[in-house]
C-alpha cells in the first residue's frame, strides 16, 4: 500500500515534467532561446489537443534553411494558429492529417467554407487528400473558385483519393505544358545552410 502511494506520487510529479520536456530535435538544431520559445508553442498546441509534429518540423525547416530565431518562432506560431482555425472549421473529430492539410489550405488563401462543403460531401471518409489537392491546385495558379468546384465535383461523385491526385497531376501537366516558355525551375533563393 505504502509502495503504491509512493509510485503514484512519483507518477504525478513526473508526468507534467515528461509532457513539458523539450523535443531533443529542437535542442540539437536551434539555439537555446529559440528552442525554448518553439517548445512553448508546441506545448500549448499539445494542451489544446492540436498536432505538434508539424510545428516541430516547421522549426527544423527554419533551422536548416538558416532563418533567424525570431522568424522561426513567428512561423511556428502562425502554423499553430492555422491548425487552430482548421479545427474550428472541421470540428474536434478531425484527424491530425486533416487538420494539417486544412492549415495548409488556409495558408493558400482558401476559405473555411470550402473545407466545410467538402466535409459535408465526404462524410465518413478522410478529407486529407482532397484538401491537399485543392491546396495544390491553388498553389499551381488555378483560381480558388474553379479549383474548389472541381474538387467538390469529385467529392460529390464519391471518388477515391487517387482520383483527386490524378486530377491534380493532370492540371499540373496541362498548365506547365501551356507555359512551357516559363522556366520549369523557380530560381532558388540562397539562404545559408545552418549545419
Amino acid at each position: 500500500m505504502h509502495l503504491r502511494r509512493i509510485v503514484g506520487l512519483a507518477l504525478l510529479l513526473l508526468l507534467p515534467a515528461a509532457t513539458q520536456a523539450q523535443d531533443a530535435r529542437l535542442a540539437g538544431r536551434l539555439d537555446s532561446a529559440t528552442a525554448a520559445s518553439v517548445q512553448q508553442v508546441v506545448d500549448s498546441a499539445r494542451r489544446a489537443g492540436l498536432p505538434t509534429e508539424p510545428l516541430v518540423q516547421k522549426a527544423l525547416e527554419g533551422g536548416t534553411l538558416g532563418a533567424s530565431g525570431e522568424r522561426i518562432v513567428a512561423a511556428v506560431a502562425a502554423l499553430r494558429g492555422q491548425l487552430d482555425r482548421a479545427r474550428d472549421a472541421l470540428g474536434g473529430s478531425a484527424s491530425e492529417a486533416e487538420l494539417t492539410a486544412a492549415a495548409g489550405a488556409f495558408r493558400a488563401g482558401l476559405p473555411p467554407t470550402a473545407l466545410r462543403r467538402l466535409q459535408s460531401l465526404r462524410s465518413g471518409r478522410s478529407l486529407a487528400v482532397p484538401i491537399a489537392v485543392l491546396t495544390d491546385l491553388v498553389a499551381e495558379g488555378v483560381p480558388a473558385d474553379q479549383a474548389t468546384r472541381s474538387v467538390l465535383d469529385l467529392a460529390r461523385e464519391g471518388r477515391p483519393d487517387d482520383e483527386f491526385v490524378a486530377l491534380r497531376r493532370q492540371v499540373q501537366i496541362q498548365r506547365r505544358g501551356a507555359t512551357s516558355n516559363r522556366p520549369a525551375l523557380q530560381p532558388a533563393a540562397d539562404p545559408p545552410v545552418n549545419r
Binding site: 530535435r25 508539424p54 518540423q57 516547421k58 527544423l60 525547416e61 527554419g62 533551422g63 536548416t64 534553411l65 538558416g66 532563418a67 522568424r71 522561426i72 512561423a75 502562425a78 492529417a97 494539417t100 492539410a101 495548409g104 495558408r107 493558400a108 488563401g109 486529407a128 487528400v129 491537399a132 489537392v133 491546396t135 495544390d136 491553388v138 498553389a139 499551381e140 477515391p160 483519393d161 487517387d162 491526385v165 491534380r168 497531376r169 499540373q172 501537366i173 520549369a184 525551375l185 523557380q186 532558388a188 533563393a189 540562397d190 539562404p191 545559408p192 545552410v193 549545419r195
Partner: protein, 182 residues
C-alpha cells in the same frame, strides 16, 4: 456488290484497328521519368542475386499468371484496375511505399533532399547520380501523408522539385515542394 461493301467496311475497321495499335502509348511524363530513373538506379548499383535470373523468370511468369487470373476474377466486381486496388489496400493499411525523387542538375557535384520525412537533415538523404545526363535520384519509403521538401545542391543552393506542386508560400525564402503519398 454487297460483298464489296462488306470488304470495304472490313478494311476500314481493320485500318482503324491497326492505327490504334500503332499509336504510341501516352504516359504521364513524370511517371515515365521516375520509372526510367528507377531502372537506371537498379542498373547502376543494385546487383542481381547470384544465379537469380532463372528463378527471376519463373517468379515473374508466375506473378504475371497470378495477376491475369486475379484480373479476370475481379473484372466484373470492381471498375478499378488491380494495381489501383492493390495501392489502395496498401494505403489503407498505412504502409510505407517507395517514392522516387529525381532532379536534373547536370553541373552539380552533390545533391541532397531535406524535408518533413528526414527532419530537414541535409546529411540524411543524398541523391545518387544516375547515368551521364546529370540526373540525380533517390528512393524513399514514405507512409501515406503530405510532405514538404526541397533539394540542396552542392551544399549551398536550394531548389524545388519541378515534378511536384510548389508549397503554398515559403516561410524561410527557399522554394519548397509538396508531395502527397496516398
Amino acid at each position: 456488290m454487297s460483298g464489296d461493301r462488306d470488304d470495304r467496311i472490313h478494311d476500314q475497321l481493320l485500318q482503324r484497328a491497326v492505327e490504334e495499335l500503332r499509336r504510341p502509348v501516352q504516359l504521364d511524363p513524370v511517371v515515365e521519368a521516375r520509372a526510367l530513373d528507377q531502372i537506371r538506379i537498379e542498373a547502376a548499383g543494385w546487383p542481381a542475386a547470384p544465379g537469380g535470373f532463372r528463378w527471376g523468370a519463373w517468379i515473374a511468369g508466375a506473378a504475371i499468371a497470378a495477376g491475369l487470373l486475379l484480373a479476370v476474377v475481379f473484372r466484373e466486381e470492381d471498375p478499378y484496375p488491380l494495381a489501383t486496388r492493390t495501392a489502395r489496400a496498401a494505403a489503407a493499411a498505412g504502409e510505407a511505399r517507395p517514392v522516387y525523387l529525381r532532379l536534373d542538375a547536370p553541373a552539380s557535384s552533390r545533391v541532397a533532399v531535406v524535408g518533413d520525412f528526414n527532419d530537414w537533415d541535409p546529411s540524411a538523404t543524398p541523391l545518387r547520380l544516375i547515368g551521364k545526363g546529370g540526373v540525380w535520384a533517390v528512393e524513399l519509403r514514405l507512409k501515406p501523408g503530405r510532405y514538404h521538401y526541397t533539394f540542396l545542391i552542392d551544399g549551398r543552393r536550394w531548389q524545388g522539385d519541378p515534378s511536384e506542386p510548389p508549397a503554398a508560400g515559403s516561410d524561410f525564402g527557399a522554394p519548397l515542394s509538396v508531395l502527397t503519398v496516398i
